[in-house]
């Protein structure tokens, strides 16, 4: 009897390992495509976030995603399917991200990886997703790499750092056409992409980058760089740092009474943690960009009200006023919109839908900003609006 049970167990596990769920029924052009983790009433998706470690502040993104799926499930699911969202922790380490992706795909048999967070982890998982033909959808990173056609299973979501840089350049050309700019940037792909795109956008105009200083993520502080940049006397300061260093730069700028440039804060740094640490006095007059509604600035908006209610109900430990929770919610809404537009119920169908979004509106995106992709343009959100920090919150410019 025990032997029989063992044989049965082996058989079952063998089946699990070899069988891939394949689309059998109509429509005909979908036949043979793969649909692991997807059934008519259920879909399993997995996300990988830094729940621990140095970047664990971004765990709030996962809370927003969870809140959206719980809310959607209570209302009948996404495209009629109940979403089972599995969250894994990579501690912001690329190697662990790959390991977790493998577990999600091989052991939990997810239909798609919905979000990996951060450029290093996303880049590490990308090769695996490509080899296994698993969608890696709407990754949370602003690098331009996610539009690379040689990795057809990966697609980004938010505007690229280059797009953000162009928005700052356009704003300056419109409001201060002869500005001198000092730049502090992180010496890695993120910093270089933003700085290079900014310099290209202002090349040949009256706006001129007169000083640039970098820092390493291993540096203790950016005091010396800030003192040096202040010496340039530039009229504009472009702050291309991750939250910790951007906060140091903001504090240093506020402390220097002799240099009062227009401070441009890059979007990555605009976190609730930074705002709380630096305080409203140091932020007054600072400009940043965004593409979704800041919960604090849109409390009466119907979509934001739905969001606030859902987060409070389904993920009560989350801080609904956090822009990162809102980011997670908005990207999950984009996933739902893509699922609804899927023509073939398969992984191939999901990627095709993600590359054929035509002006899709989401309630929590800023007015006038939509999701638009085509096979030649795999960047869902490409627009940003400029915001200025007033007394206690960001206000549209």
């Amino acid at each position: 009897m025990r032997r029989l049970a063992l044989v049965a167990l082996l058989l079952v596990s063998a089946c699990r390992l070899t069988s891939a769920d394949v689309v059998l029924s109509s429509p005909a052009e979908c036949a043979g495509q793969r649909a692991d983790g997807l059934s008519p009433d259920r879909v399993v998706v997995g996300g990988i976030y830094p729940l621990s470690g140095p970047a664990s502040a971004y765990a709030a993104v996962a809370q927003g995603v969870s809140a959206y799926f719980a809310w959607a499930n209570a209302r009948g699911g996404v495209a009629g399917r109940q979403v089972e969202f599995l969250v894994r922790d990579d501690g912001y380490q690329p190697a662990r991200a790959v390991e977790e992706a493998r577990r999600l795909v091989d052991s939990d048999r997810v239909f798609a990886l919905f979000q990996t967070l951060g450029t290093p982890s996303t880049a590490a998982v990308r090769g695996y997703a490509d080899r296994r033909g698993v969608p890696q959808l709407f990754v949370a990173s602003g690098a331009s790499d996610w539009g690379d056609a040689s990795y057809p299973w990966t697609i980004g979501f938010q505007p690229t750092y280059a797009a953000e840089a162009r928005v700052y350049a356009e704003h300056l050309l419109r409001t201060r056409p002869h500005a001198t700019v000092a730049v502090l940037y992180q010496n890695d792909d993120f910093g270089h992409e933003l700085l290079t795109a900014f310099e290209e956008a202002v090349a040949g105009t009256g706006v001129e980058v007169v000083a640039r200083r970098s820092y390493e993520v291993m540096d203790a502080d950016v005091q010396a760089q800030m003192a040096d940049l202040a010496g340039s006397g530039a009229g504009v300061f472009l702050n291309v740092g991750t939250p910790k260093f951007a906060a140091q730069a903001l504090a240093a700028d506020a402390a220097m009474t002799g240099w009062n440039p227009l401070h441009l804060l890059n979007g990555v740094a605009n976190t609730p943690s930074l705002i709380a640490a630096v305080g409203p006095a140091a932020l007054r007059g600072v400009l940043t960009t965004n593409f979704y509604k800041d919960p604090a600035a849109w409390p009466d908006d119907p979509a934001v009200r739905t969001y606030l209610g859902a987060v409070g109900k389904y993920v009560p430990e989350a801080d609904p006023s956090s822009s990162q929770v809102m980011f997670g919610w908005t990207s999950a809404a984009a996933f739902a919109a893509t699922m609804e537009r899927m023509e073939c119920p398969s992984r191939e169908g999901l990627m095709a839908a993600a590359r054929h979004l035509r002006g899709v509106e989401l309630g929590t995106l800023l007015p006038g900003i939509t999701l638009s992709t085509s096979p030649d343009d795999p960047y869902p959100v490409e627009e940003l609006r400029v915001f200025r920090f007033a007394d206690s919150r960001w206000e549209a410019v």
């Binding site: 502040a57 970098s214 291993m218 540096d219 502080d221 005091q223 010396a224 760089q225 040096d228 709380a276």
Partner: protein, 270 residues
């Protein structure tokens, strides 16, 4: 140029304080304590918690130093005493453990830390003064107190010290306590500038290790001089040579200094 040198001294003072702590532990127990920076980070959190509870900065500081002293001694008694030959590895384990614990308790959100010193070049004098005071205090304790005498006896020859009735284990705990207290000063000094978060001492530790290497891990004066030297060299290299060079400075100094150990430093032993 002058401004950059001032900034270098400010950062260097923090390196010097942590390097001093590394030298104390190494000199009295023979171990390089990789967890020194993390202990300093926790001390900064303790200070922040005290100030947050309404205490004045100048009350919170000595309290924090006292707590750090206790915690350092306790870490030696509870963990390091049993480590034996694995002591070095154990300090790395302690590093990971303390870091994770801090992230668990205080999360990795950035926190503002009050700065008692004014901004600008004059603000540099404050940290330098604090480090000088700590160095002087350590000198007095180690040179002119009974406890200091036993400390030096244990450092010179643990076995002979034990045979003459000194409780070496307790003296080791005292060394760890003194080191943690000194490290706490570095944590509190840098927290206002870098903001409080569990990773704040990571970069500082590398430079402090290099600074301690300048003093051969035994000479406090050499460690302080090394800290200031590295602070200034990093800043100048980053500003006037090539930004990427900044990271290399402590490592280059770590490589170069054992080769050309300044003999002056070896003579002035505190």
């Amino acid at each position: 140029m002058i401004g950059q040198v001032f900034h270098g001294f400010g950062t260097g003072a923090v390196y010097a304080a942590l390097a001093l702590a590394l030298v104390l532990v190494h000199r009295f127990t023979g171990v390089v304590n990789f967890a020194q920076g993390e202990l300093a980070m926790v001390s900064a959190y303790v200070a922040w918690q005290l100030v947050d509870a309404g205490l004045s900065y100048w009350v919170a500081l000595p309290l924090t130093v006292a707590v750090a002293f206790g915690a350092g001694a306790l870490a030696q008694r509870l963990v390091m005493r049993h480590a034996g030959d694995a002591a070095l590895i154990m300090t790395i384990g302690l590093y990971v453990f303390v870091h994770a614990l801090a992230a668990q308790i205080w999360s990795s959100a950035l926190r503002t830390f009050p700065n008692p010193f004014p901004g600008g070049p004059l603000g540099i004098v404050g940290p330098l003064g604090v480090v000088a005071a700590v160095l002087a205090l350590l000198y007095l304790v180690i040179r002119h107190s009974g406890a200091g005498l036993t400390l030096r006896a244990v450092a010179a020859d643990p076995r002979a010290a034990r045979l003459s009735g000194i409780r070496v284990g307790r003296v080791h705990a005292l060394g760890w306590g003194l080191a943690a207290a000194t490290g706490a000063v570095s944590g509190v000094l840098i927290a206002p500038v870098v903001f409080l978060e569990p990773g704040m001492m990571g970069g500082v530790l590398v430079s402090a290790l290099a600074a301690a290497a300048v003093g051969g891990f035994v000479n406090p004066v050499g460690a302080v001089a090394g800290g200031l030297l590295i602070g200034v060299a990093e800043t100048l290299a980053g500003t006037y040579l090539w930004a990427d060079l900044r990271v290399v400075v402590p490592l280059a100094i770590m490589l170069v200094v054992p080769a050309v150990r300044l003999s002056a430093f070896s003579r002035v032993r505190a």
